[in-house]
Each structure stands twice: as structure tokens, then as C-alpha cells.
Amino acid sequence: MIQVNIQRTLHGVQGDFDLNVDLDIVEGEFVALFGPSGVGKTTLLRCLAGLEKPDRGRIAFNGSVWFDAQEHTHVPPQERHVGYMFQDYALFPNMTVRGNLEFARRKGSSRQRVDELLELMDIAELQHRKPNALSGGQKQRVALARALAAEPQLLLLDEPLSSLDPTIRSRLQDEILQLHQRMGISTIMVSHDVGEVYKLAGRVLVMEAGHIVRQGSPAEVFSSGQTTGKFRFTGEVLGIEPMDVMEALTVLVGNQIVRVAAMPDEASNLHVGARVMLVSKAFNPMIIALE
């Protein structure tokens, strides 16, 4: 159980505002922080990791106090056993892949741990390369492996997949999900992607200007919109082609490619790469059992 109750003044583009978060996370939970840029999501992660100090408040992890402003307690990052995956990966450029993992390995843990992670993340063949010789997807894997090398009790993922193309992104989402199911590490992930939050998180916290303004399961949080249509899928437009008097949209939804008929007026607002929401009423789908 992680208990967080912290305040910190942040300097935003539109002036100062207060980060004020009161939050309990149950062991093994996967929580997403969702909201626009500059509302304090990354600062919250950094405070949890011990990289920044709140102005006031307290952070406790399974009963041990990590931070307490009144008691002047501040447990340094390396003693918190937190795995942190940075938005820009922040791999050490002068170290090999293996070196990056070795560096992060918890002192006293077995060297085997690094071999296991190299296998697990499918990067064993890259272990002697340096980060600048890796693709985006490979760097992402190394960064995740490095975050896990510390044998964390808490995994913090700051927009882990934001710079990847949709296919790799989807595959790595599957891997993160499997990892979480297998290891059960409490995880907090910052994401702007509704689909990603749906897929991975059990609970989503919507942040605005330093505060959690809404929370619940992804279904509760994201389906409280205006339309009564029950099926909503977010996707990316891959193609727009004329089809008689209509337009055929090719849309990537999750990792499936679907074709949708659109009116020319609907399609005229769209372009390849545009994000769209497909809404359909609950009456339409036919249901085919797979077992």
C-alpha cells in the first residue's frame, strides 16, 4: 500500500499552481495518470521516486515513511526500490545495454537477474551495443528492463511508449501488461492515450492543474461523455479513399485494421494520421462465441 498526501508549488506556463495529491494505491495495482501536459503528472512521479521533494506532506510505502515534511524525512531514491522509466529513456550513452542494466541492478542481487531481464525483454542480442546504436523500440525495451533491474516494489512509467509507432507501441503494451500480470509490481503510468489506459490500467486518475479531478475504472472515466452510443473505439486514420458517393476510411483500432464508411463531409475533417473515435450503438454487433 502506498499512501501519498503531498503538496508542492509548481511553476506553470500560466503562473504558479499547487500540486495537491491525496492518493492510496493498493499493492499490485496498475494506475494511470491521465491529463494534459504541465498539470503535475511527472512531478508526482518524481516525488514518489525521491528525485524531487514535496513542500509539504507525507509519502509512505507499506508502512515505511519515504517522505515526511514535518519529520524532515526524505529517503534517497536508491533506497526506495523504485523502477523509473523516463519519458526520454535517459539511458547512459557511454554504457552498453548490459552496462545500463548492471548499473541499475540492486546492490547485492544476483548477476543472473540481468541475464533474465535481457532474455525477458528480448534484448540479449543487443547487450553489447550502446544506446545510440538502438532503434526507438529497442531503447524503450532497454529502458523498461533497466527500470526492472532494480527489483522495484513500485514501477513508475512516464509516457513509456509515446514516441513509438502504433504497431510497436501495441506490442510493447502487451508486454507491459504481461509483465505486470506476472510480477504484480504496483505500477503508475503517465499516458495521454485513452486506448493505452484502457488496455493497461485498472484505475485511471484524471489530473488537471495539480489536482486529481476524477478517478475510476477506464470504462467509468472515459464513457461519461455525451453520446449514448455504447461502443467507443479510438483509432488512427490510415487511409481515406473515395468509395462511390461515400469515403472508405481505413482505421487502426488497437492492432486491428477496420474499414468504415464515412460521408464526404465527415471525411473532409480528417487526414491520414488523425485520431478518431468510432461510436456504434450496442444493438449493432453480432456476437460470436469463440470457445
Partner: protein
């Protein structure tokens, strides 16, 4: 095609005038320009507090879900029947888009070109538009 200035499916502004509900579903009657439209929803007023009498809503329905009829007689299970005037016809090889006027609101529908020929549709024709209640989506302002 003169489908008019709408950029996302057919929309009509109205007001909820009647509600019939069971534990999962609601049958919602919406008054638009003196006509009553009906939408079936898998939602209840408990889950969706906007489902109440006098709530302003927008009825939305996809162009491909609209059927057209001329001189329709007899009984029909379909709940939404409303008079429209053909404003424009854009013929395609298989499908055609028809621009419609419903009491001053621009709507559009897409039916097969075969059906356009069978109905001998022409600009200015007064026809009846039909939409199943299942296909009606409601949206509202918060």
C-alpha cells in the same frame, strides 16, 4: 450533392417528451418540429441522469441507416417516419447520396442506386424517411 452544412451524421435538435424504462433499457420519445421520434437505448435514467422529461437533446443517425419510401401504406414496426423533400441526388455506381430537407433541416441519406431508380426519385419529390429506433443516438449538452 446539396446535403447541406452538417459535418457529422444527421442531427436534429429536440426535447425528451416521454420515457419508458426497464432495468436496462429506455425507450425515449423526442419531439422535433412537432413530430415525435423514438430512440431505444441500453441506458437507464439511473445511469444517465440526462434521461428526463424536457431535457434538450440532439438526435443523431447515420446517413446509411435512413430508408426512403413513397406512398407507403399498411402497418410497419418502424417507429421513426417523417416527411422529407428531395433536394439533391448524387448517383454512384452502387450507392447514391440523397440530400433531404426535413422542415428546414438539411439531412442526407445513402441508399442503393437501384433503389433510387425503383422509386424514380427526382428533386422536389416529397417522400417519407424511415429510421429504426435502434439506430437513433442521443447526445446532449452538459
Amino acid at each position: 450533392m446539396q446535403a447541406g452544412p452538417h459535418n457529422c451524421m444527421n442531427k436534429l435538435p429536440g426535447k425528451i417528451v416521454a420515457l419508458e424504462c426497464n432495468s436496462h433499457m429506455s425507450l425515449v420519445d423526442v419531439a422535433v418540429e412537432g413530430d415525435t421520434f423514438t430512440a431505444t437505448l441500453l441506458e437507464t435514467p439511473e445511469q444517465s441522469p440526462y434521461l428526463k422529461i424536457d431535457q434538450p437533446v440532439t438526435l443523431m443517425f447515420k446517413e446509411t441507416e435512413v430508408s426512403l419510401a413513397k406512398n407507403l401504406s399498411g402497418l410497419i414496426s418502424l417507429r421513426n417516419r417523417f416527411p422529407v423533400v428531395v433536394q439533391g441526388i448524387e448517383r454512384g455506381a452502387i450507392m447514391s447520396a440523397i440530400g433531404l430537407d426535413y422542415r428546414g433541416h438539411s439531412l442526407a441519406c445513402v441508399i442503393t442506386t437501384r433503389a433510387v431508380d425503383r422509386l424514380q426519385l427526382a428533386i422536389g419529390d416529397q417522400v417519407e424517411a424511415l429510421v429504426k429506433a435502434n439506430e437513433m443516438v442521443l447526445s446532449y449538452e452538459h
